[in-house]
Amino acid sequence: MAKFEPIKGGYVNLTIDGIEYRVYYEEAGKGIPFLLQHTAGAEGIQYRCLLNDADVTKNFRCIAYDLPFHGKSLPPLEHDWWKERYLLTLDFLMKFQDAFIKAFELKRPAYMGSSMGGHLAADLAYHCPEKYCALIGLEGSLVTAPQHSRHSANDAYFEMYDNPFIGKEALGGSMDMIIAVQTPERRRKEITWCYNKSGPGVFAGDINYYNHDHDLTGKADRIDVGKCMLYLLTGSYDPATKPSDTKMLADQVKGSYFKEMENLGHFPVTENYDLFKTFLMPVLEDILKREKGKR
């Protein structure tokens, strides 16, 4: 007998800065809305295990989306996107969040994002905490460490990851190097497969936000967790954002939650969901406790 999963997919058309985007999403569960942001150059499928996890979906309406240009979300259908370089910005990410929340009529959702999505958790905490009930940053930090961001988005990253003479497998191979060594081989291959099939130049364009737009230096101490709690989780094997990088952010955000996740790397949700879950569940239980009686 065929096995169906409790995940439903759909498309929503969102207009941002006058351009309409056809956006794919998958959702499962009921309860507190829970938005799930994928990593740079990837897609919402990274959350497939979470969307199938009844321990989470019994209390949270989990929605994983593919940003425009990612996964099943095509570039804008009525805009000549190919006439300019694709570059992701903080401004676009924040407007996307607003448009998505409005379209689904979500009331103060929780949010979780990984890598660039982890950075975004901190940016949302700084810019618009009143819109969320909780923000969870995975592999996020104050600013991308200089050894990763020393190149501008217009040179080395594009040369390596938007280069017609370099095959797509280079990107998966690069991501393979920041996965924890304990990761089951099948999950490791799932991550690299996902990257190998990403849209041309999209990873490099996303890095514009990751390396440049995101910078809370001199600002993070103004984040008020009284308005919205900020949870920060980082894998011990992540060389892109080391636990000490995340802790630097946590130290500046008074009252925030920080936990190092042993034996996980830059893609904790996908590398080993069962292990990741041991770190996630205490956070979700804390969110439920804080939201009790508020909805």
Binding site: G173, S174, D176, P239
Partner: protein, 121 residues
């Protein structure tokens, strides 16, 4: 090295990563430097004790202390692959167009770690 490269040549995953490739890989363990050649997707021999400035398509050259940590069965964070070792432990890793060899380097390291620890992968 000869025995190890024979293992690589029989490993489907490794052979797949070098398909159609003609080039060379410089592998440096401290002062001990090898040059492995590839031709049309096959291993085409190697040289040992080549000069440090020998030209190659791609390379991983690092201190012995870094390699010793990287080749442990479960390396510590920062030593699990070439990029973290480059960021934090003085490993020189070819960049630019040479990133196309990253899948080969990843499989090479997995096989080398297994070989170094007496295992068969």
């Amino acid at each position: 090295m000869k025995e190890f490269l024979e293992i690589c040549g029989k490993d489907y995953e490794f052979v797949h990563t070098i398909r159609y490739w003609t080039g060379s890989y410089k592998l440096g363990f401290g002062d001990k430097i090898y040059l492995i050649r590839f031709k049309n997707g096959k291993i085409d021999g190697f040289e040992e004790n080549v000069p440090a400035d020998t030209a190659a398509t791609c390379w991983t050259v690092g201190p012995v202390r870094t390699w010793e940590e990287m080749l442990k069965p479960i390396p510590k964070p920062g030593f699990n692959s070439f990029r973290p070792a480059m960021f934090y432990h003085d490993m020189k890793l070819s960049q630019g167009n040479a990133v196309i060899q990253f899948p080969m380097l990843n499989r090479f390291l997995v096989l080398l770690r297994s070989y170094y620890n007496g295992g068969v992968n």
